[in-house]
């Protein structure tokens, strides 16, 4: 079958001879992929920043498709069902799943206890092949996959596998109270969705910070919020203090993660020398821009070793930090309602639809932010007819 194949940092190709996935556990399903996105998280893999990313791995954790085959124990799905598949692989039974922490399942990733299994996200996240392929093995098929409602556009459905729940959970973890000023670092798909969601929780002001002009323009329109370029602000922390009457934001959201720009020391030690788990510039700014007793919500992804952040200020300001991989399955019922009611319009962020055969260019365009790219969907040949 056709599948994306990782060959090393900045090198991916469309492999036409990847063996078909097989049922390896009685609760597995095989899904024929119809749409598969490239995510900001994939960029951390693509740039070689995630340890134990083995050559030959197929990435892709944001996909939808049609059930092609099911294991003996599967009861809730049948061949032919159209499903959206949450990016987290979750058993639904362990003590963490029982608490709704589906991003923290203890039965889906032998290689690391600090993160649950994720499709196509290195051996550090379980060693599963992902959905940037014609077919994919989906474990715990009775639990994760969700039927796509008949009236739902499949472009909306594919964004419900990660982007929408992650942006929404970023806002949710912020504990936003009506009237709060919410500052979001990052105007990528996740930051954009966090901005949109912040209003649903009653935010009074939503401010997005990035340095890519076309994304700032986009988020301003799409999420009806304020947007500022940190390159022209000189000091974004000072700017936020000033604009909040010298108090600081009620809630700050890090929707950037370990490849943040904007601070030479962080960039050199984190991204070039890899002396820390990526650059923590956005998190640093978030901690320093939030008010005393405020909340910092982190969904940006960082590596497992550690980062330079002003933890002393976290203590002295009495900041609460909330963070997680999004618990997609927990949030889906509510988010499907929001999409159906028109309160969220996920497909509005898709800028690029690229044939899966051109995966090398698709990654480069998204990574280098070319052609005003915001969100890219890969379409396999069978779904293009």
């Amino acid at each position: 079958m056709l599948a994306m194949n990782y060959r090393g940092p900045y090198r991916v190709r469309a492999d036409r001879n990847k063996p078909m996935p097989e049922i390896e556990h009685s609760s597995d399903a095989i899904v024929r992929v119809t749409r598969s996105c490239i995510c900001g998280s994939d960029l951390h893999l693509y740039h070689g920043l995630v340890p134990d990313t083995r050559i030959g791995t197929t990435f892709g954790h944001e996909f939808i498709g049609v059930v092609e085959e099911v294991g003996d124990a599967v009861q809730n799905l049948k061949v032919g069902d159209s499903v959206l598949v949450p990016f987290n692989i979750a058993c639904g039974k362990c003590v963490f799943c029982q608490q709704g922490l589906y991003g923290n399942c203890h039965e889906s990733n032998p290689q690391a206890t600090a993160v649950g299994g994720i499709f196509g996200y290195s051996h550090t996240a379980g060693g599963f092949d992902g959905g940037q392929a014609e077919y994919v093995r989906v474990p715990y098929a009775d639990f994760g996959p969700t039927l796509i409602p008949d009236d739902m556009d499949h472009d909306d459905a594919v964004l419900l596998t990660d982007v929408v729940p992650t942006g929404y959970q970023a806002a949710e973890m912020g504990g936003i109270k009506p009237g709060d000023t919410v500052v979001i670092f990052g105007a990528g798909p996740i930051g954009i969705m966090a901005a949109k969601s912040a209003w649903l929780f009653g935010a009074g002001r939503v401010i997005v910070i990035d340095h890519i002009e076309y994304r700032l323009e986009f988020v301003k329109q799409y999420a009806q919020c304020e947007a500022y370029n940190f390159r022209s602000l000189e000091d974004p922390v000072l700017f936020i203090k000033k604009t909040t009457d010298w108090i600081g934001a009620d809630v700050c959201i890090d929707a950037v993660g370990c490849e943040a720009a904007g601070d030479a020391l962080q960039t050199i030690t984190g991204r070039k020398l890899m002396l820390q788990a990526g650059s923590a510039t956005a998190l640093h700014w978030a901690i320093n821009s939030v008010k005393k007793g405020g909340i910092v919500s982190i969904v940006g992804v960082y590596g497992p070793t550690g980062n330079l952040i002003p933890i002393g200020n976290v203590v002295n300001k009495g900041i609460t930090i909330r963070a997680n991989q999004a618990s997609v399955k927990r949030l889906l019922p509510r988010l499907i309602e929001h999409v159906q009611a028109g309160r969220l319009d996920p497909k509005g962020i898709i800028t690029h639809r690229i044939p899966m055969e051109e995966v090398g260019d698709a990654y480069h365009i998204f990574s280098a932010k070319l052609d005003n790219c915001i969100k890219t969907v890969l379409i396999p040949p069978s779904a293009r007819k």
Binding site: R7, G8, P9, R11, V12, R13, E24, H25, S27, D28, G48, D52, T53, R54, I55, G56, I89, C91, K93, C94, V95, Q98, Q99, G100, H106, E107, S108, N109, P110, Q111, T113, G117, H123, T124, G126, G127, F128, Y140, E172, I176, P178, W199, L200, F201, G202, R205, Q224, D245, G303, T305, S327, R330, R334, A341, R343, G360, Y363, H364, I365, A368
Partner: protein, 164 residues
């Protein structure tokens, strides 16, 4: 100054999820009988391990499911096995894995060549799109590269002249 809800009529759904108690999936920690007891839940059936699967030493064995593609092989595989002798809390674990990844990349090139496949670096790096959407950036990169090479060559020449 805090604004009130009445200012937000232009935003569809403003404040609709403001009260966590109205949102049934709000993450209120649910206690259950397995709390504080360790790994005692009814475990899903175990996937048989037909290939070598490394596991964190912070857990007793494999999880019920796992991915089987790309089991450890060659020199990179040996380094990965070494890494897994150390916990996720150590630098040794992660640095060994990162080094293994770079070795694995070289192994990948070797494997390609052995199979008679010469990697198409232009397609793999997505350079066609660079040419299409970033002509100026690409030209700058090429010019900088050429300048660096020229300076290096000139330096080497002048040095070899000094040696004479």
């Amino acid at each position: 100054m805090k604004k009130t809800a009445s200012d937000y009529s232009h935003i569809n759904g403003w404040g609709i999820d403001a009260d966590p108690l109205d949102v049934p999936n709000y993450p209120i920690k649910k206690r259950n009988e397995n709390d504080n007891k360790g790994m005692v839940w009814e475990r899903p059936a175990q996937q048989p391990a037909l290939v070598e699967v490394l596991h964190s030493n912070e857990r007793p064995g494999l999880t019920a499911v796992f991915g089987t593609p790309n089991p450890p092989t060659g020199l990179s595989g040996q380094l990965r096995r070494f890494a897994f002798r150390y916990s996720e809390s150590t630098w040794t674990h992660w640095l060994a894995l990162l080094v293994a990844d770079r070795i694995n990349m070289m192994e990948g090139i070797g494997e390609d060549l052995k199979n008679g496949h010469i990697p198409d670096l232009i397609a793999e790096h997505g350079l066609k799109s660079e040419l299409k959407f970033n002509k100026i950036g690409l030209a700058k990169k090429v010019l900088t590269g050429a300048a660096v090479i020229t300076v290096a060559v000139l330096l080497m020449k002048s040095r070899s002249r000094d040696d004479d």
